[in-house]
């Protein structure tokens, strides 16, 4: 029974490929998400996930249903949107978040229009993912991106922290903050695009952001939050894929819902900054008050 529920699904080749790909992405994407959260750029992940869509659609239009063509189109579109968002955010009198919302709404509409115009592509699969579509190519893409993203993040770790904590200090000491920022955003784009086959463009950001948002309830240190985010993402991938297999929910939403449940659980009863902790904190204060 338990074997049928938990292990048997992964005897199937496509489930194994999806699992391997999602585990690879679970190691690479959430640490980037932690930095997005810390840099108050969570909205940027929305912009990315919608921004890559027109590129994926154009890639498919030019070269058919090739993972490489769609991926390349998605990466280019994501980089263009990142540059555009960076330019818009440098203040032209308008509020940054409104500008970003404008960008991603246009990108989403354009992407859906371009995909709908082509026969042979299932819009649902592009937006929400399909484990059945994870072929060797898609698996290599996910594993490859994870292999690149982790060492690069380790390399730019110190300047990235400085840039997040105190950008003026980095600039004053001669560090080129914009370079690290651009590298970081490029990694985010790569991760979002590489996950789209399995998770869908709208959902692959979920595996990046939800474990990252939830991680702050499990550790107070940056390294601890990054470790926690990876563990949460791995658990969400395994449980989400099983959920998808047994209930016929697309893999993307299934994994993201699982990650969301983990986040809510952390908010309620995690060891840091959770509801449980703040309530026990109140009790301590009350007790102290009574003594006084």
């Amino acid at each position: 029974m338990i074997y049928d529920l938990l292990v048997a699904p992964f005897a199937l080749g496509f489930m194994r490929r999806a699992l391997a790909g999602c585990l690879a992405l679970s190691c690479a994407a959430p640490p980037l998400g932690v930095f997005l959260v810390l840099r108050r750029m969570s909205l940027m992940s929305d912009v990315m996930q919608h921004g890559v869509l027109p590129g994926i659609a154009l890639g498919a239009a030019v070269a058919g249903l090739s993972v490489w063509a769609m991926g390349l189109g998605g990466v280019l579109a994501g980089l263009i949107v990142a540059l555009l968002a960076g330019w818009l955010s440098r203040g032209h009198g308008a509020r940054e978040d409104s500008q970003l919302a404008g960008v991603y709404l246009i990108a989403l509409a354009l992407g859906v229009a371009l995909i709908s115009a082509q026969r042979g592509i299932d819009l649902t699969h592009v937006l929400f993912g399909s484990v059945l579509a994870v072929d060797d190519m898609a698996l290599f893409a996910m594993a490859g991106v994870a292999t690149i993203a982790l060492p690069v993040l380790a390399l730019i770790w110190r300047p990235l922290i400085l840039e997040s904590l105190d950008p003026g200090f980095l600039a004053a000491t001669g560090g080129r903050g914009a370079v690290w920022h651009a590298l970081f955003l490029a990694l985010v784009v790569l991760c979002v695009v590489s996950g789209f086959v399995a998770l869908g463009t709208l959902m692959s950001v979920g595996l990046m952001m939800l474990p990252a948002i939830g991680a702050r309830h499990w550790s107070a240190s940056l390294a601890g939050q990054i470790r926690a985010s990876v563990v949460l993402a791995i658990l969400s991938s395994v449980v989400g894929l099983l959920l998808s297999y047994h209930t016929d929910i697309p893999a993307g939403p299934a994994i993201v819902l699982t990650a969301g449940a983990a986040w809510i659980a952390g908010t309620l009863c995690g060891p840091h900054a959770s509801l449980r902790e703040s309530m026990s904190g109140h009790r301590r204060v009350n007790a102290a008050g009574k003594i006084g």
């Binding site: 110190r158 997040s164 904590l165 003026g168 200090f169 600039a171 000491t173 001669g174 560090g175 107070a220």
Partner: protein, 225 residues
């Protein structure tokens, strides 16, 4: 430690459309300790950032006498920093070395001990493992002073270092500033507290509107007596 003089030559700085510093000339002498005063919006922070190379020069020039970026340490206003960032005091202090060791060289045990020593010197011994989110405003400013210690720069630019801190902290930090002054570093500090300026700062540069001139009347040591 004798830094070169920092010379302003008909310097003009703009903030957007607005000219905040206009045609300012003068010299920050080696080892001088200058209070930068003036009304809000007079361009104090802008001038400080321009000295650090963080604000574009709209006209004239700043001659730093060949100082490298790592030779000029800047203490920003506390509000510019993200105090919710999950990082320990020791790591913040150790980041003071980033300008010298670069982005990729390891920071070893010796340097971490240096960071601990700096924390002790600013009156925060044994707080190395504390996250910065748990600090008071005064303690956080002490941590940033410890970071300045590790930067060990011959030129120090400070933006309102005492504005958000309690009296004891201000007193302690001022003592550190005066020690750096005795060591021959050039110090330029934005300050609002004119009593403190008169009592402790040999030089004052008062920015007053768009036509500030570096006249001797504003540029005389007020503590001459």
């Amino acid at each position: 430690m004798t830094p070169p003089p920092i010379t302003l030559d008909h310097l003009t700085l703009r903030h957007g459309e607005r000219t905040v510093v206009s045609n300012l000339s003068g010299v920050f002498a080696p080892g001088s300790m200058t209070a930068l005063t003036g009304d809000n919006g007079a361009g104090k922070t802008t001038l400080l950032r321009a000295l650090a190379g963080l604000h574009p020069v709209a006209g004239g020039r700043i001659d730093r006498g060949g100082l490298a970026p790592a030779d000029i340490a800047m203490l920003p206003q506390v509000s510019e920093l993200d105090r919710t960032f999950p990082i320990t005091c020791r790591d913040v202090v150790a980041l003071g070395l980033a300008g010298r060791v670069g982005a990729f060289t390891g920071i070893g045990l010796a340097q971490l001990r240096q960071a601990e020593a700096a924390l002790a010197a600013v009156g925060l011994p044994n707080l190395g493992n504390r996250g910065i989110g748990a600090l008071s405003a005064g303690q956080f400013q002490r941590v940033l002073f410890a970071r300045l210690m590790l930067q060990d720069a011959p030129v120090l630019l400070l933006d309102e270092p005492f504005s958000a801190v309690d009296t004891t902290t201000a007193h302690d930090l001022l003592a550190i500033l005066r020690r750096w002054h005795r060591e021959g570093r050039t110090i330029i500090t934005v300050l609002h507290d004119l009593d403190m300026v008169r009592a402790h700062f040999p030089d004052t540069l008062c920015l007053a509107g768009a036509d500030t001139v570096w006249a001797p009347s504003v540029w005389t040591p007020r503590e001459a007596a």
